[in-house]
Amino acid sequence: MTTAGNAQRKMEAYLGRLRQLLRGMNPEDAREVIEELRSHIREKAFAGGECTTAGVDAALTALGTPEDLASQYTTDDLLARAEVSRSPVRILQSLFRWASLSVGGFVVLLTSIIGYFLGGALTWCAVLKVIHPRTAGLWVFPNGADTEISLRLGFGSPPAGGRELLGWWIVPAGLVVGCGMVILTTRLALWCARQYRKSLALPRV
């Protein structure tokens, strides 16, 4: 294979890998990114009059790995969309993507899942207490030295051997604490995402 052919093959391999990694982005935006970087690599590699493998290598090294580059584009894109929509579903989608890229993202995802789950369960419990007043609520089951606390949504028969805590107070308490947890989790996730986006813009010195 000729030098120019080798150089072209290297460039296309890099762009092909990047294309795969940009799947989370809007397809039209991803196509523009690939075309822009192809133009950039050609411009740099052809600077000496001909396209050499060394020229392409230098251009690709200066751009960084496809993984680093893709994480800046896709995570930024997803997190930016999440910030605008503020929807827990969109935020979790973005966090799943971030979690696949870094340990920090994984920790934020795990914390957010727990926060949304607990917040959602408390809110639902408060709502369902009105529909299932005898069975929904916060129940405690003495079990020898251990005590089991269970948040019940009220489906099925009344629990045997348990005692209900809070009673009707679960309605206001569940709504306030549950909604509060969802709001706090959203704020925490967006704050972490913003910090991460800021760190992505770091010029590498």
Partner: protein, 123 residues
């Protein structure tokens, strides 16, 4: 003692990185003030007209973000080089944002210079 000196140096390096990071968005908007440029021209302008040492892999995603924010627009233009180039230009919102950031920068820079004057005289 040497470990302590190394740690202090790391702190200074991180501070410098943060400082450069804070300037990058304004630097790109400023590079586009006089007219449209394509990615590599922006990088060359930043290298020649500022001390910012910028990774090429950082500028392109940032340009994409500035476009998503409506501060720049882009267009593909055929070139003599045999491949099209993606040119960026400031939008009216981008020009407004550049002016605001420049005013903030000037105020901040002037007040820091006053504060740092005794330190620079000491040299």
């Amino acid at each position: 003692m040497k470990a302590r000196e190394g740690s202090d140096q790391d702190t200074v390096d991180k501070w410098e990185v943060q400082l450069r990071k804070g300037c990058l968005e304004l630097a790109i908007l400023a590079a586009l003030w006089d007219g449209k440029l394509y990615g590599l021209e922006i990088l060359r302008r930043l290298e020649s007209d500022s001390d910012l040492i910028v990774s090429e892999g950082t500028v392109y995603p940032l340009l994409s973000r500035l476009k998503a924010l409506g501060l720049v627009r882009s267009e593909w233009v055929e070139s003599d080089a045999g491949h099209p180039r993606k040119y960026y230009a400031l939008t009216p919102a981008g020009r407004q944002r550049s002016r605001e950031m420049t005013a903030m920068w000037s105020r901040f820079s002037a007040s820091m210079s006053r504060l740092l004057a005794p330190l620079t005289k000491e040299k």
